[in-house]
């Protein structure tokens, strides 16, 4: 850094963030370079005044507190003017909606979708009917083919 101009360096980083080693190197350079010396001094003073500016605490206006409270009160009054049912709906709308949705889903499952247990009972009933056909033939002797065809026809219908 001894032979390198420091103007770029002092502009690219905050002066306060420079390490002591960097500052020492800059000081060595500024002993031989007048333009860098003036830039270094100016950067140092600029950093100082900016620091002082940042430390100044800006007080709010004396009416700030009153104004904020008044604004809050107005908002509260506006909220109070909403009807009771609307306020209740705002707080409970999610719960009511989810309950209604659950009821609709249960209704659909109960009345529209077929019950697997009911389907198997119907199939059993149709098989019983096939047996009844066979046994209702009375004393007449049935051939083996007639019995099989009667059973399988009923079975196919049941499916």
């Amino acid at each position: 850094m001894k032979d390198k101009h420091i103007i770029e360096v002092v502009d690219s980083v905050a002066f306060a963030s420079l390490s002591q080693i960097e500052l020492d190197e800059m000081m060595i350079h500024t002993r031989e370079c007048a333009s860098c010396r003036s830039a270094f001094d100016a950067a140092q003073l600029s950093s100082l005044v900016i620091k002082e500016r940042a430390q100044v605490t800006i007080e709010p206006s004396p009416f700030f507190h009153t104004k904020v409270l008044a604004a809050l009160r107005e908002q509260q009054q506006a909220a109070d003017n909403v009807p009771a049912f609307m306020r209740l709906w705002k707080s409970a709308s999610a719960l009511v909606s989810s309950m209604a949705l659950a009821t609709i889903v249960l209704g659909v499952l109960t009345f529209v979708a077929p019950d697997p247990a009911t389907a198997s009972v119907e199939q059993t009933a149709s098989l019983d009917a096939a047996e009844a056909v066979i046994f209702d033939q009375g004393d007449e002797q049935l051939t083996y083919e007639q019995v099989l065809s009667a059973i399988y026809e009923e079975g196919d219908e049941a499916r």
């Binding site: 100016a42 600029s46 950093s47």
Partner: protein, 130 residues
């Protein structure tokens, strides 16, 4: 929540700064007697700390910052004044990190050049008085 509030406060401050008039350049004739006297008292590297001097320095900073755009002022005050990192400024303002770096560099350079002019005038005046 904190980031959201910081962003709102930053934008409000920027809007206020945009509303104020920007000075193109600061000259010695713009300085008050106190500010001019403060500059005369400042040998580089030696800073006299007192409440009054600190206030004068803050006023001088206001004048110097008044020559910058509101965005450049914001970047410089946060980074050099409050020791915020580039990332923190980017988060608070919503700018990219490279934009923050460019703004800070530009602001620092302009402030330094203005201060250099003021100091050179001070040097000339001291030479003339001798």
């Amino acid at each position: 929540m904190e980031g959201w509030l910081t962003r709102i406060a930053t934008n409000t401050c920027l809007n206020m700064l945009r509303g104020s008039k920007r000075r193109p350049e600061l000259t010695v004739s713009d300085l008050s007697d106190d500010e001019s006297g403060w500059l005369d008292q400042q040998p580089a590297g030696e800073v006299t700390q007192s409440v009054e001097n600190n206030l004068v320095a803050a006023d001088l900073a206001d004048r110097l910052l008044g020559t910058l755009s509101p965005e450049d002022q914001q970047a410089l005050l946060m980074i050099d004044g409050e020791n915020a990192s580039i990332k923190e400024v980017a988060e608070a303002t919503g700018w990219s990190e490279s934009k923050v770096k460019v703004r800070a560099f530009r602001a620092r350079k302009k402030i330094r050049e203005s201060m250099e002019k003021l100091l050179s005038y001070k040097g000339k005046r001291a030479f003339e008085q001798k």
